[in-house]
């Protein structure tokens, strides 16, 4: 077995006096699909936000592709990572947000093209082709020149996924991507994620409340409770055969 692409080693995170994560240890292998479930406030989102460098851990290490994400070596000592160090690693990670966070002043095609052109310095024509292809794939090939405000929530979220995919990340993070959507729009977004999970070989971490969906696509499911990973294993181990009481209670509430 090869080295995991992401390793969390005893990661803690506090906001002020509130301890959100109390020692997370976690391995994610390349191409592995990981679903993170758990009650709200359990720190699920914080895990992927730290991986995306939006939140700095209070202590512990996050190793991405063999390199420490939040620390770097300087004169033989490990010091806090600077922006340059973060940017080097961040390039391999993409994220889709709960509230889409599309750029409202750009068309959806521009939303997809901006980062590859400016960040990766790729040729415009190539990026355009790839972006159109990706928007086609998420079913929005006919809306290239629309602005985000002209789209439905489900369409916006599909654009957000195309935007992240065009950057060709090795790890994709999904932060409760369906919870801001009207119920009838959830399906179209899950379909796209399912398609990515089946056909792309990147690692995926999904924070989600869609239990059936998680069971269906995840190689590994984590149950996070009160800041620790209370249960982990394959989808069927965790969701169907766990003896953890809190997990049973949690699942019961979700799958009436």
């Amino acid at each position: 077995m090869t080295e995991p692409i992401v390793k969390f080693q005893d990661v803690h995170k506090s906001f002020g006096d509130t301890q959100v994560l109390k020692g997370i240890n976690l391995d994610i292998n390349s191409a592995e699909k990981v679903a993170v479930i758990g009650p709200s406030g359990s720190g699920k989102t914080t895990i992927i936000r730290m991986l995306m460098t939006l939140e700095e851990p209070t202590s512990g290490d996050i190793i991405v592709g063999g390199t420490n994400l939040w620390k770097m070596e300087k004169k033989g000592q490990m010091v806090r990572a600077n922006e340059k160090h973060l940017r080097e690693i961040r390039g391999d990670i993409g994220m889709v947000f709960q509230h889409f966070n599309l750029f409202p002043h750009m068309t959806i095609l521009e939303n997809c093209m901006t980062a590859p052109i400016h960040v990766k310095k790729e040729a415009k024509e190539e990026v355009r082709d790839r972006s159109i292809q990706m928007l086609d794939r998420v079913g929005l090939g006919d809306k290239l020149n629309n602005y985000p405000s002209q789209l439905s929530g489900g369409q916006k979220q599909r654009v957000a996924m195309a935007r992240a995919l065009v950057m060709r990340p090795k790890i994709m993070l999904f932060d409760e991507v369906t919870s801001a959507l009207d119920p009838e729009l959830v399906g179209e977004v899950l379909e796209v994620i399912r398609d990515i999970a089946k056909n792309d070989d990147m690692a995926m971490v999904l924070v989600t409340h869609e239990m059936d969906f998680a069971l269906d696509i995840a190689d590994k499911v984590l149950f996070l409770d009160e800041g620790v990973i209370a249960e982990q294993g394959t989808a069927s181990q965790v969701i169907e055969h766990s003896t953890n009481e809190r997990l049973q209670e949690f699942l019961h509430r979700f799958r009436k």
Partner: protein, 222 residues
């Protein structure tokens, strides 16, 4: 009719002040916009000295009146520093520019701060540098939000230009004063026409402000 004849007589005389009024308006507006962006960005700087220093500039110029600043520069600068600012035109432009630049810097700062946090996060997730985040994502949205206030303040700047008549510039109001002093009974018509002159210059600014309002409502993350 006497009034029509009087209008025909007065309008060309007032028009002689148009050049000064408009040139002071344009120059001080450009200067104010420049100061607004410089000071607005400096107040968001990580460096505390830059922040405090620009904060001082903004509070002093917002806390005192334009007319006080204008006279202060007019009388004090040559005395205090022994330098001549060149001409009264420049003193007017600098006073108006510094004054409204201070007000507008608050607009710039507020707009940048009010771009939704999710936008910065999305840009970070796409691995943009902090400069790229500002240039490609935050700034374009903030500028849209600023447009209506920039329009409003440009009208304020136009009104402020009338003060340069007090330091001897031959603007519209100055010419109005000259006509009045030679024929006191014409005062109502003269000053009414002066107001109309200013209003006509203001009309495109009013139109642009409304245009800016409709643009600012679109294309901004809420």
């Amino acid at each position: 009719m006497i009034t029509i004849n009087a209008i025909i007589e007065i309008v060309p005389q007032l028009s002689r002040g148009l050049g000064i009024t408009i040139s002071v308006l344009l120059a001080s507006a450009v200067f104010a916009y420049l100061m607004a962006f410089i000071a607005g960005l400096c107040r968001l700087s990580k460096n505390i000295f830059i922040r405090k220093f620009t904060g001082f500039y903004v509070e002093v110029f917002r806390g005192t009146s334009l007319i006080v600043q204008l006279f202060w520069l007019f009388y004090a600068v040559p005395m205090l520093f022994g330098i001549e600012l060149g001409s009264n035109w420049w003193i007017g432009v600098i006073a108006i520019g510094l004054n409204y630049g201070a007000y507008l810097s608050e607009v710039v700062r507020g707009s940048i701060l009010s771009v939704a946090k999710g936008q910065t996060e999305a840009a970070t997730a796409l691995n943009m540098s902090s400069f790229q985040r500002m240039r490609l994502i935050i700034f374009p949205q903030a500028v849209r939000m600023m447009l209506p206030e920039f329009g409003n303040y440009t009208i304020q700047i136009l009104k402020g230009t009338s003060l340069v008549s007090l330091i001897g510039m031959n603007d519209i109001l100055y010419h109005g004063d000259i006509i009045r002093s030679s024929n006191l009974s014409q005062a109502p018509l003269v000053y009414f026409l002066v107001l109309v002159f200013y209003f006509i210059i203001a009309l495109p600014l009013i139109w642009l402000t409304r245009k800016g309002e409709s643009i600012s409502k679109k294309g901004v993350a809420s």
